[in-house]
Amino acid sequence: MGKLVALTGNYAVAYAAKYAKVDVVAAYPITPQTSIVEKLAELIESGELDAIMIRVESEHSALAATFGAAIAGARAFTATSSQGLLYMHEFVHWVSRARIPAVMAIVTRALAPPWNIWPDHSDYMDQRDAGWIMGFAMDNQEVFDLTLQAFKISEDPRVYLPVMVGLEGFILGHTTMPVELPDQEIVDQWLGPRRQEYVIDGREPLALGNLAWPEDTEEMFMEIQKAMNNAKKVIKEVDEEYGKLFGRKYGGLIQCINCEDAKYFAVSMGAWTGDLIEAINKLREDGYPIGVIRIRFCRPFPYEDIWEKVQNAKGIIVFDRSISYGAWGPLFSDLITGLYHYTNKLPTMSNIVAGIGGVNITYNDFARMLTNFVETIEKGEKPPVFTWYHKR
């Protein structure tokens, strides 16, 4: 049987890595990820986790060493935030293009300048073209579950891609919540030993990454796109299995709340979806038929899953906690592009960018934005396609 404990989001990450029995951790501290590294160091030094910790001198080396360990057959893990993630960006691509399973937690934080340690999704979303599977949790239980599932998804032969798990700094990272930890034996049976397509351990000569001509290179990268497609199925399978074994099922790539009878949909990702759900529960009492689609995985992007839910929608409002400057919020851009594939009569769609630099968006803010959106459409008017919601 599992046991219920109180954990911060960061500790939930560390415990998930422990339950996955990682062999090597290579990491470098940065606020707000630090307590993951500290906890893992403690678990390793105390002997609770039989792993090797490489206390590297930078994030570039953190992911490089994680990569090195992974190609040599180890289950490897790292975590970072913000500037650290940007600093390792070269290797973010390296790992996925080498098709090597690995897991990295991203405790999200705004990007500087100005220095700012509060959460938004700018660091995480900046990586979306890198070929990683990208999941994002909403609460600490999901942080644990998703991190553990990430190993299973990453090491599935249909996928063999690295997986990033996002969680907001402080909001989840440093906030204590009840988390149910599973039975280790069941985890071991379910996760199994490390799997990867190739191992470079010197037992047979093997070369990785030799110069390749354009056609060969392109074909290798086409395989990544195929693996991303496969991952959609694998993510759902893993969610189902996990639900059966451990009693928690989230819905796969997305989680839908109050979607059945909804005419309007609010789409978002991450912890603030909790406030959004609260706002909608309140608004439903006042007769607003709104449903929430929470994106759990933004790579691969859940086009089909969302379309299935919003076919008869009158309006869709998408909340982005990051922005592609000069364009819109990335979730909105992806969604509107994807939906156009299914219909050339899109429902009214609106993008709100908010919570940047860690600005706190409350349930009242969500309620205000949602009523505004619905009422504008009900009046027969068109809400602006893009709004940067700012409270001051």
């Binding site: 090597v24 590297v56 001198e57 490089a64 992974a70 000569p205 070369a207 030799n210 110069l211």
Partner: protein
């Protein structure tokens, strides 16, 4: 087997020639390239039982293009700054998995070591991971077309020091590594394969971080006739400009080929070395004097630490 003593001056027996089975013909090196020469010596020590971690540099190309491969050993190509870090990860994974008969070798150029890779090198050395890091020093960024690196010597022409030549001396990476307190540091030259071989043999027996700074004359970048790669390498020793030594047990052990040149009178004039190379064409007397002063100071430093 005991390691041959690099200080002995007895005639050498040929190196074991299983190396042709590992370093295959048909690589993409320029004629006269020092890289495959060095690999042959390395493979004479480790055979197939090595994992070369290669960052962006000439060697990334020399290995050959996919699906071909001129090395019958494991090779991992990695980002420019990351050889030491990736090798750290591999080394620790092998340790965790109990694999002890495979040598992890970071093989990086001077740019990938002295410049962009300095932090990851320093980190891996301080953590003392079990690996051999070999910096093959062709004294510029050759892969991108002969740009200056911090390891380019004073006075040398490169495409980014096109008129005046380099105005700073070479960064002494071996010295930097000695100050890290790692168990083994050595300098070597592709012109002295037996010496290099013996150093690899010694490094093989030591656990922890080993650093070898390998002088590697490049005909393309240094502007000399490709048939002179070894001659140029030898002249670097004979003029006293490049000093072969090992550092372990807290002191420098001068290697056989460099021994005679402790005595400045035995050294050939530096111009003998410079005049074979187009990169020093037109170098002034004044600059040659400056190089001489640098060489003398370097020798004094070596002697002080013997």
């Amino acid at each position: 087997m005991t390691a041959p003593n690099p200080q002995s001056s007895k005639p050498r027996s040929p190196l074991p020639f299983n190396m042709r089975e590992v370093v295959l013909p048909g690589d993409s090196a320029c004629p006269g390239c020092p890289i495959p020469m060095a690999w042959k010596v390395i493979s004479a020590v480790f055979g197939e039982k090595m994992i070369l971690v290669i960052p962006a540099c000439c060697s990334s190309v020399v290995v050959g293009a996919y699906p071909g491969n001129s090395l019958k050993a494991s090779v991992v190509h990695v980002a420019f700054a990351s050889a030491a870090a990736v090798a750290s990860g591999i080394s620790e994974a092998l340790r965790k998995r109990g694999i002890t008969d495979v040598q992890v070798i970071a093989w990086a150029g001077d740019g990938g070591t002295a410049d962009i890779g300095m932090a990851s090198l320093s980190g891996a050395a301080e953590r003392n991971h079990d690996m051999i890091y070999i910096m093959y020093d062709n004294e510029a960024y050759m892969n991108t077309g002969i740009q200056r690196s911090s390891s380019t010597p004073y006075g040398a022409w490169t495409t980014t020091t096109p008129i005046i030549g380099k105005t700073e001396h070479k960064k002494d990476v071996a010295k930097i590594m000695i100050s890290h307190g790692v168990p083994y540091v050595a300098t070597a030259s592709i012109a002295y394969p037996h010496d290099f071989y013996a150093k690899l043999q010694r490094a093989k027996k030591i656990r922890g971080f080993k650093f070898i700074h390998l002088h590697a004359p490049c005909p393309v970048g240094w502007r000399f006739d490709p048939k002179y790669t070894v001659r140029v390498g030898k002249l670097a020793i004979e003029t006293g400009l490049w000093i072969l030594y090992e550092y372990y047990d807290g002191k420098i052990h001068l290697s056989g080929p460099s021994r005679p040149y402790m005595d400045p009178k035995k050294r050939k004039p530096i111009i003998e070395y410079l005049k074979l190379q187009g990169r020093f064409k037109g170098i002034t007397e004044e600059k040659i004097k400056e190089i001489e002063t640098y060489v003398n100071q370097h020798w004094e430093w070596v002697k002080r630490h013997m």
